[in-house]
């Protein structure tokens, strides 16, 4: 058991080392969300009537945070596909290590990278007027909540990453899944303008529940959701936690199983 923990920590450490060895990757991974903050803040901010004190940026920041952590799925999937293509997964599989070490190490590594990204984004958000009003404890809790959601998404990425053979295919596949999820939600705009059926979808969408949960924790009224009066929109934190547990419970065993049988070529 202790051995398995040390195994996955070695894999996690490898990813953190990558961040140090090629800082460009980390820099771009941070610039992109920071750019999103600025774009949305100044392009949509003027057009959308947020109806909350402090303006659109208060509603926007939770949305962008969630979008960013949802894309952990992409980092995980693309990273694993690349490792498979290079034969690195084969080498790991020929080592006397726990079968789950490589995939757990990967998900933990990607989540750790998220910490850096979230801190930078929070800083940029602060510069453009984001002021959570709920106090330090709840703000920290919100970040833990975000990281937990990113971690669960990472497990979906593991399964995709191990099932696809081409890095570019992995990339396209995850963008095709994650983009609609983040836009068919309450992350950036009110769901009220959507057709009724999409409103239901948007309210049951895990991205929406996590965004709504975050808004609650940051102390801002969720003006963009709860038009269809569904249970998730009333209980976003509880629903989000259920989603996270479900995602991990389904995808972690599938991913480990896939890893055991996978062959690179």
């Amino acid at each position: 058991m202790l051995q398995s923990v040390s195994d996955f920590l070695v894999i996690t450490k490898r990813q953190l080392l990558q961040m140090i060895r090629i800082p460009e990757v980390m820099i771009f991974a941070t610039i992109q969300p920071a750019m999103f903050v600025l774009l949305f803040r100044y392009v949509f901010g003027g057009a959308i009537d947020s109806g909350v004190e402090g303006g659109y940026v208060q509603l926007l920041m939770p949305g962008i945070f969630v979008q960013t952590v949802a894309f952990t799925l992409a980092a995980t999937a693309v990273g694993l596909t690349a490792d498979m293509q290079k034969g690195l997964i084969d080498r790991f599989r020929s080592l006397p290590i726990a079968r789950s070490a490589v995939v757990i190490g990967r998900t933990v590594g990607d989540t750790t990278q998220n910490i850096v990204t979230l801190v930078v984004m929070g800083g940029v958000g602060y510069l453009v007027g984001w002021r959570p009003s709920s106090g330090i404890f709840k703000v920290l809790l919100a970040f833990v909540f975000l990281l937990a959601f990113g971690y669960s998404m990472s497990w979906i990425g593991v399964l995709i990453g191990l099932s696809v053979r081409e890095e570019r295919v992995a990339q396209n596949l995850v963008f095709m899944t994650v983009f609609p999820l983040t836009f068919l939600s309450n992350a950036f705009a009110p769901t009220a303008g959507m057709p009724r059926i999409l409103q239901y979808f948007a309210e049951w969408n895990p991205v929406s529940t996590v965004v709504a949960g975050c808004r609650e924790l940051f102390g801002v009224t969720n003006q963009f959701g709860a038009t269809a009066n569904s249970w998730p929109s009333q209980n976003p934190l509880a629903m989000s936690l259920i989603y996270m547990v479900l995602i991990v419970a389904i995808f972690a065993p599938l991913s480990v199983r896939k890893y055991i049988r996978v062959s690179s070529k």
Partner: protein, 326 residues
């Protein structure tokens, strides 16, 4: 003692439509080098993947270092080293980082992993490049580092899957030197290659494989003698071909084959050097001065052609190692 035994391995894909292995048997004596020789798609990589616990065969069994590959894969992983066709390393990390990481994954303690990484870099002449990311390495350096990574625990059995594919001649020579060193250290080595010369150079015995089966086995010399012994070959001016052919026939005791285009006459001979002296004397008496003359021992290429009926094709890197069933 046998270090590697494979019995009746079968592995097929797409519901049996494609047979990568079709009843493959292998035995490798402890401390020796077996060269698994075959063209792309013959089943070499699949064999290695089964023996290295990466792939479960449909049928058959195998032991490595006396351990059952299918029943106790974890135990097998503790005593093998694997270095594949593609340098399986983390490109963004340095050489040192990579070896240190693999050392930790082989459960050396922190100090032990560092010490081993330093030792191996030294041994493979990579100390200077230790702090550089792998992506800046040449092909040969990558392969050496990849090999180093497979030697962290001093494995009992080492699998090298086409260790020199894609390397330039210099890289290949370096790699051969390194492998030679290893073998002197007493490791059992299974080496796959499409280069007949490489098998000849490195292996104690050779198994020729085609369409998922071993089709011939033996030392390089044994395989060569299967195709026949030496051949006498001479090249002469075009107007001298008929006279020279008659003389060669007289020496060889059989009708030589003649290639008019390149003016080459050749025939199998049993007593190599004596025949050479004899034909030289006869040619001299006939006032024929051959442009080229020599005894040729059959190459493994000849062996391959005579065994499989086709040339060992060298397909571009990245070809799938599976074969359509005939």
């Amino acid at each position: 003692m046998k270090s590697i035994v494979a019995e009746g391995l079968v592995k097929s894909y797409r519901n049996g439509e494609i047979k990568a292995l079709d009843g493959l048997n292998l035995e490798v004596e402890e401390g020796t080098v077996l060269g698994l020789l075959g063209p792309n798609g013959a089943g070499k990589t699949t064999t290695v993947r089964v023996l290295a616990t990466l792939l479960t065969p449909d049928v058959g069994q195998a032991t490595v270092a006396g351990i059952d590959v299918l029943k106790h894969p974890d135990e097998v992983r503790k005593v093998i080293g694997l270095s594949g066709q593609y340098a399986a390393l983390d490109e963004t990390l340095t050489g040192w980082d990579n070896l240190n990481m693999f050392g930790r994954l082989y459960h050396l303690n922190s100090a032990g992993a560092k010490k081993r990484a330093t030792e191996l870099l030294e041994k493979f002449s990579l100390t200077e490049a230790a702090k550089r990311p792998i992506r800046t390495y040449s092909g040969g350096m990558r392969r050496r580092l990849d090999l180093a990574a497979s030697l962290i625990i001093k494995p009992k059995v080492l699998f090298l899957d086409e260790p020199t594919t894609g390397l330039d001649p210099r890289g290949r020579m370096e790699m051969w030197g390194v492998i030679d060193e290893l073998v002197k250290g007493g490791v059992t080595l299974l080496l796959t290659t499409q280069y007949l010369e490489e098998a000849d150079q490195l292996a104690d015995s050779i198994a020729v494989i085609d369409t998922g089966k071993v089709i011939a086995e033996g030392t390089a010399d044994e395989l060569k003698s299967q195709v026949g012994g030496e051949r006498l070959e001479i090249t002469v001016e075009a107007d001298q071909i008929s006279v020279a052919t008659a003389l060669v026939a007289q020496v060889a005791g059989s009708q030589p084959s003649v290639d008019i285009g390149i003016r080459k006459i050749s025939a199998p001979v049993s007593n190599g050097s004596a025949s050479l002296i004899q034909i030289l004397r006869l040619l001299d008496e006939a006032k024929i001065h051959p442009l080229d003359i020599g005894l040729k021992r059959p190459s493994l290429d000849d062996v391959f052609i005579s065994l499989t009926g086709h040339v060992a094709e060298v397909v571009a890197e990245g070809g799938e190692d599976v074969t359509k069933r005939k």
